[in-house]
Subunit: 531 residues, 2 copies
């Protein structure tokens, strides 16, 4: 049994605080240390052919053993083993936390009520893989006998952001690899303008809807299902031939004759961690083929195994987590930017935003006691080079320092390129990324203060040959494991989300007929929420 | 001539700091004050049929006169008049700042080198309106005589984010209004995967490209133009019949026989403020018709005129700016979330991110002296209700307080809706928004600390009947003017972006053949940026 203590109860944390120089001294030491040798040596394999490079993080050499001690004091890797083996790590909801198991067995094989859960997840994967093959081959067709050409996933939050980001990430890759199947779209918002615009112009005869809700009671998802069903009905199509469900076995959607088929998840894989389960698997297998999804899982599993390494200096997700705690709790930096130099990752930051902020945006520790230190940061980001022409001004010259997480690849997913002024677009993309890392780190002096770059602004870099399914799986798992380790360091339950409940309660009150507080009544009236 | 002084030289700012209670006392006073009367009374017309409501901002009554004094000490409205009348407010680059003039004359009519600039902007608008009409009617066609059906805007940063966000915002509206013309797409990233995926499957015979670069030298845009030209050539189409340019009159793209036509902007409208100029106007007029763009400008101009109001308590953009400075500099809150409850505004936050962070992410004042206070915050956001299922956990229960900017509308842009459990989706959307504002502000106690909501979390709300072109114009101008006023309060030059230069310089070094520093050489080699 591991011991649980708060970050500020760790002796190494107090030492980190005491040993931290002022920001000017840190920046100077960092700038002086960053050279080619450091770039080549501060790099770890991250799975899926990726490497994680931390040369441009502004950690000082004397802090590294303290961070290693912090990881040991918080027993991070032991807790990960415990989690992956089926301990009840979601303490508030009293649930196991098993998203790793959807990718492979990391430690002990978890069993629940006599059920081998790896077999359950794999069994569902086999079922939806077979289903996807039948749809893709044309063996299974819509009500009028037309082949399915489009899949629309209806889900929100974890049932939307991850699958959507992964779908965008692999679309061009799948096309080049000859694996493109159904065209996928996503509907999430309860705003009916979302569903109406997304479904607009679709040939419903060849459209398959995937309804994703673990509980089967998500307000937005049920509303959008009704919108989709109304459109199917209007087109004279029986919805049961055009809808499948991804849900838990205890939900009202399970084994429901209103669906063509149902694929199951359980309470041990939280929404924001569910891209590796049927939540992501059904739509990605329909779009890109089951083998693509299998490769994605292999990449993620490889990263999961790397995260078992006990030495933080050899464990990329753990070291990333430790450096993040240094940024947040020693250096007081409240935000993190995710900056992939790959258009295919255009919505990856939006997924990490949920993953990180919903997991660790907490003010009580896992036992329910308030913490006296900062926890999860605000996470934001857009792809480079786009961001360079947007918010990088603040990153370079703003008054706050924002730690940066860069991602880059040697090769693109598509083949068209041109040489302009002596270089291809791909080479320009790579040159911009290299230049930004160094510009942030080293800065530049100038007699005009407005043209002065303070430097000392830290970044890490995940890079690899190409963004293929394995690399994408490892990329996602790296961040999931980083967030998990940070939860251990902060002593949080990273797997519940009680902070979303009050809004739900008040929404139900507004939609009911009862009396409301005067402020809520005024807002609800102003916005048209009361009859 | 107005006086320029730093925020910390203002007596009212010192008083604000001295008079600020601790955060618990502030939260308690705020929760106690928020009732229906406050919601109804703290509201100002914001133009375009919109209202801006600040009832749920946690400003205390004794702070309001101090904020008014601060606005007076910084002469905010007088500086706005000066700016709109053609003063050289972009001090570093020695340029006027005239984006308001693209919407209408706000103060004195600016003249430059004998040229009446309002006539210039209007003249260009008339030219591109006529051009758009000819394209939309089929009078002007592609090289093979096919009607243009698609327009692809090639631009980055301000030439992309604003026009793209506005295009998404009005697509469903234009369809319902019968104003839909060309289908618009956007290419921005130098990553060729962007252009290849966006142009994939396009019928080039019916595609018109709009190349947008003020200088005519933007690396990404020229690279993507070459990619587009290569595709046109491969299809046997003369690019000169399929390309128009939006650029300055002194750029290499101006009056260039390689383009079907060119529309002009000038150095007095910065990229992030250029959506109201030909940068946004050409593509939006092609997509939705010139009258739609004209209505958008009218809404923006209305908001611009409201921003002339000298009393901050009656000037929504100015009061929003002042409350933001209170959040940032008195309460020490480093981020702002933009949360539109409208799927049509799905990329609006990405545009505001550039607008705000590139304008005010500065560490020196307008005279080049370093400032000793925090300036522009990190801005991020996603539409509600999606965000509720993503990062709202941190907003409700994280350790940092994030001020929120909500947007909502009584009506949607599309007509399909369904009743589920007694309410339409639109009513659910409105109920969620009302519930969130109150949940953030009032919180909820609970014996279980994990289910406790501290409340005291501030928000503002812009709302109106529907998101139509006028409302969208006013919405954009409100935020532009807020950012401008914050620049005055912080004594910044909000109109340059020297922080993007170092990256450009180092990129050119990487792409050249010369020697590099050892860290840059190592990164460039690792990423494939060196031959």
């Amino acid at each position: 049994m591991n011991a649980y203590r708060r970050l500020d109860e760790c002796p190494s944390f107090a030492e980190l605080l005491a040993a931290s120089p002022d920001s000017a001294a840190r920046a100077e030491a960092f700038r002086a240390a960053l050279d080619g040798d450091r770039v080549r040596s501060r790099e770890l394999a991250a799975g899926g052919g990726l490497s994680w490079n931390w040369a441009a993080m502004d950690v000082l050499d004397h802090e590294l053993p303290l961070l290693s001690r912090l990881a040991a004091e918080q027993e991070c890797v032991a807790k990960y083993r415990e989690l992956a083996s089926g301990a009840v790590m979601n303490t508030g909801e009293k649930r196991m936390v098993l998203h790793h198991l959807a990718r492979g067995v990391v430690a002990e094989r978890p069993v629940h009520a006599g059920k081998d859960l790896r077999s359950f997840y794999e069994g569902e994967r086999e079922r939806f893989s077979e289903f996807a093959d039948r749809v893709r081959s044309g063996a299974l067709r819509g009500a009028t006998g037309k082949r399915f050409a489009t899949v629309v996933q209806i889900g929100i939050g974890g049932s939307d952001l991850g699958p959507r980001a992964l779908h965008i990430a692999l679309s061009a890759w799948a096309k080049a690899a000859g694996r493109l199947g159904l065209e996928a779209r996503f509907v999430s918002n309860v705003d009916p303008d979302d569903a109406n615009a997304t479904l607009d112009g679709l040939d419903l005869e060849s459209t398959l809807f995937v309804l994703v809700s673990k509980s089967g009671t998500t307000q937005e998802t049920l509303a959008n299902e009704s919108l989709a069903k109304a459109k199917l009905e209007k087109a004279g199509l029986p919805s049961g031939k055009h809808l499948v469900a991804v849900t838990s076995e205890t939900s009202p959607l399970a084994r429901n004759p209103g669906y063509l088929d149902s694929f199951y998840i359980d309470d041990f894989i939280g929404g924001r961690y569910s891209a590796s389960s049927a939540v992501g698997g059904v739509v990605l297998s329909l779009a890109f083929g089951p083998e693509t999804f299998a490769e994605f899982l292999e990449g993620a599993h490889e990263a999961d195994r790397l995260a078992l390494e006990p030495d933080p200096m050899k464990n990329p997700a753990l070291l990333d987590a430790l450096l993040g705690v240094l940024q947040r709790n020693v250096l007081g930096r409240p935000t993190v930017a995710v900056l992939p130099y790959s258009q295919a990752l255009s919505r990856f930051a939006a997924h990490l935003q949920q993953l990180d902020m919903e997991s660790n945006g907490k003010r009580v520790d896992r036992s329910g006691a308030p913490v006296a230190y900062a926890t999860g940061p605000v996470v934001f980001g857009e792809p480079g080079t786009n961001g360079q022409h947007s918010f990088y001004q603040l990153l370079h010259q703003g008054t706050d320092t924002v730690p940066l997480e860069f991602v880059g690849f040697l090769e693109g997913q598509t083949s068209g390129d041109v040489v302009v002024e002596g270089s291809t677009s791909r080479r320009k993309l790579a040159a911009n990324l290299a230049a930004q890392i160094v510009a942030f780190a080293l800065g530049k002096d100038d007699s005009d203060a407005n043209r002065r770059f303070p430097g000392g602004r830290p970044s890490s870099l995940i890079h690899g040959r190409a963004l293929d399914p394995r690399a994408l799986g490892a990329l996602l798992a790296h961040f999931e494991n980083k967030v998990m380790f940070q939860g251990f360091l902060w002593n949080l339950n990273s797997f519940d989300q009680e902070g979303v409940q009050l809004g739900k309660v008040l929404t139900r009150q507004v939609l009911g007929d009862g009396p409301l507080g005067s402020a809520l009544e005024a807002y609800a009236g102003m916005l048209g929420a009361r009859p």
